[in-house]
């Protein structure tokens, strides 16, 4: 592996000092230009890990290194130029149009007193095109479907022009066509050399696109490694705590997990 672009060094985090750690002694590295899936059951600590990687939460122990330097070495603004986040969902009380909303992704490049200019609008439009939703640009956000909103959130993160894109459960509540649209965009970004990290509880979404896997359970990383060696019956079963069977299919892997309910 090349020198990792992003690396965690035994990071731990807990929301409440009395409770057990949400992320516990986690270490792994992300190769530049790779697609990494953080895979695990609900409540494994995946979203917390994303927050830690972005520097939105500070680990109580250990550190996160970006290009070899701890996150504290960068300003909030510099970090936002390096890394973009596609959040799991977003609550918006006001009726922005899609273009206005995607323009917010230009914030990392604007000073506190600046308004977005022509150049920012051009980049926002390009981001809409890259997400395949140019035709939505004048629609109000509340009128969008769940799938369209997900693509808009991706477009906003693309307007950040990040080197690393982090997506929190990008495909979880999407139908098949929308899930494939999202995966297609991720694939295109990978070709453009963007490093991608995403969380999912759906192993198939991971198998369709990931190069590397980080398998989490109960706040700990229990396996990490390349797709080939990590996406196995044994490792997935242990991660999910239920029997999982990997089925090779057209060069991809499907999974089957059935417990007879008799």
């Amino acid at each position: 592996m090349n020198a990792p672009i992003l690396k965690t060094d035994a990071i731990s985090f807990r929301y409440n000092p009395a409770r057990k750690a949400a992320v516990d002694q986690v270490s792994f590295g992300i190769a530049p230009g790779s697609v990494t899936a953080i895979l695990g059951p609900n409540g494994a600590g995946k979203s917390t890990l994303i927050s830690l990687l972005l520097g939105l939460q500070k680990p109580e122990a250990g550190k996160v290194l970006l290009e070899g330097y701890p996150l504290g070495h960068y300003t909030r603004r510099q970090l936002s130029q390096w890394m973009g986040l596609v959040p799991q969902s977003e609550y918006l009380p006001f009726e922005y149009t899609v273009l206005e909303f995607v323009l917010l992704g230009r914030a990392p490049y604007l000073g506190p007193l600046d308004l977005p200019g022509e150049n920012d609008i051009t980049i926002a439009r390009e981001s809409l095109a890259a997400a395949g939703i140019t035709e939505l640009s004048t629609r109000p956000i509340p009128a969008l479907s769940g799938g369209e909103l997900q693509l808009v959130l991706i477009a906003r993160a693309l307007a950040q022009q990040p080197r690393i894109l982090l997506l929190d459960e990008p495909t979880s509540h999407l139908d098949l066509a929308n899930r494939n649209a999202v995966l297609r965009i991720m694939h295109q970004l990978k070709r453009n050399n963007v490093t991608i990290i995403f969380t999912t509880h759906d192993p198939e979404a991971a198998s369709l696109i990931a190069d590397d896997l980080v398998l989490m359970r109960g706040g700990q990383v229990i396996y990490t490694g390349e797709m080939k060696t990590t996406f196995t019956n044994e490792k997935l079963s242990k991660t999910y705590g239920t029997p999982v069977e990997v089925i090779p299919l057209d060069g991809y892997m499907a999974v089957k997990s059935i417990e007879r309910l008799e």
Binding site: S51, L54, L56, R76, R77, Q78, L79, S80, Q81, M83, G84, L85, P87, E90, Y91, L92, P93, F94, E95, Y96, T97, E100, L104, G105, A107, P108, L110, P112, L113, D114, L115, P116, E118, I121, T138, P140, Q160
Partner: protein, 334 residues
């Protein structure tokens, strides 16, 4: 951006600045002297009393009306964005009730010199906010927004109970009517001296809000997303919140409780421009100024005794609001 939209925006900017100034200018001639409604220009040129009336009473009063309207509607817009809640109004964090309590206290305990009432109102307005803020930090429940809202409700209730006690203790023939009159809001006693200490605060606060208006959109996204977009969330939020609260406290200390302006003008502004704070905040500020000037014109002119301004802003505000909300979208910035 295509040229027609850009021209529309430039035209809008010019209108937003010109309209309140023009309306203020016309309003100088509106009142009940020498006879109700309109003072002809030649009266102003010849009548010395009219000149004094216009320059020493009406002009400072109208400038204050402009400041009140601009401040409340700007602060309302800011608070609605920061709290991600379209039902928030600028005084809700204990500022309004605190100021009311402070004014009543001054009327009861310190005699009723206007400057004392105003200072006491300003001080207690800020105390209201500070209490809300520190209580919110101690609450162990909910996120930042919910905690501040809960603290604001509790502090407001606390001050409104205190206000009730003061009203109960007040001399019903002299002090009580004065308290009630102050609470209803009005600009009849405004002088140039009031402007001297209110205007610097208002100008500085409005400047901060206008310059940082696009950032409000980012802060309305929630803490995590805003931070991931490079926003220094705590610092920027505190700055905007402070600006909004200070201008609210400043104008409330002079004008009393002017209801509804800070709640509905931002809605109307969003309705006719856009949800983007970069667009609607200037519209809101300009409309707010115009609205309070017009309400004050009516308050001065309609009856021989003045109608309290707070009553008019609530009454007219509610009517205009309902009419606008019942119509289909009417945005001109597409």
């Amino acid at each position: 951006m295509d040229t027609s939209l850009r021209q529309k925006k430039q035209l809008t900017t010019v209108l937003l600045i010109l309209a309140p100034v023009v309306i203020l200018g016309i309003s100088l001639f509106i009142g009940r002297y020498p006879k109700p409604l309109f003072m002809p220009l030649e009266v102003l040129q010849t009548d010395e009393l009219a000149q004094r009336l216009v320059f020493n009473l009406r002009l400072p009063r109208l400038i204050m009306a402009l400041a009140v309207g601009m401040s409340l509607s700007a602060a309302g817009g800011v608070m609605q964005m920061l709290f991600r809640n379209p039902l928030v109004e600028p005084g809700f964090l204990g500022v309004s009730q605190g100021a009311g309590f402070g004014a009543a206290m001054a009327i009861l305990a310190l005699g009723s010199a206007p400057l004392l009432i105003e200072s006491s109102a300003a001080v207690f307005g800020i105390i209201g906010l500070a209490l809300s803020y520190f209580i919110a930090r101690r609450i162990r429940y909910g996120g930042w927004v919910l905690r501040l809202v809960l603290a604001g409700i509790a502090v407001s209730a606390f001050f409104s109970a205190g206000l009730g006690i003061l009203k109960y203790l007040a001399d019903p023939t002299s002090q009580l009517p004065e308290i009630v009159f102050w609470l209803l809001g009005g600009l009849s006693s405004v002088t140039w001296n009031d402007l001297v200490y209110v205007l610097p605060v208002v100008v500085a606060g409005l400047l901060v809000i206008l310059l940082m208006r696009w950032r409000l959109n980012l802060l309305a996204l929630g803490d995590e997303t805003a931070a991931s977009l490079g926003v220094a969330v705590k610092r920027e939020r505190l700055l905007l919140l402070t600006a909004a609260v200070l201008i609210t406290a400043a104008v409330t200390s002079v004008a009393g409780l002017i209801g509804w302006v800070g709640l509905i003008i931002p809605h109307i502004a969003r309705r006719i421009s856009s949800a983007n704070a970069a667009d609607f905040i200037p519209v809101s500020i300009s409309l707010g100024g115009i609205f309070v000037i017009l309400c004050d014109d009516i308050a001065r002119t309609l009856m021989a005794g003045e109608i309290p301004l707070g009553i008019l802003t609530s009454l007219l505000g509610a009517v205009i609001f309902l009419i606008l909300m019942m119509r289909p979208s009417m945005r001109y910035l597409k």
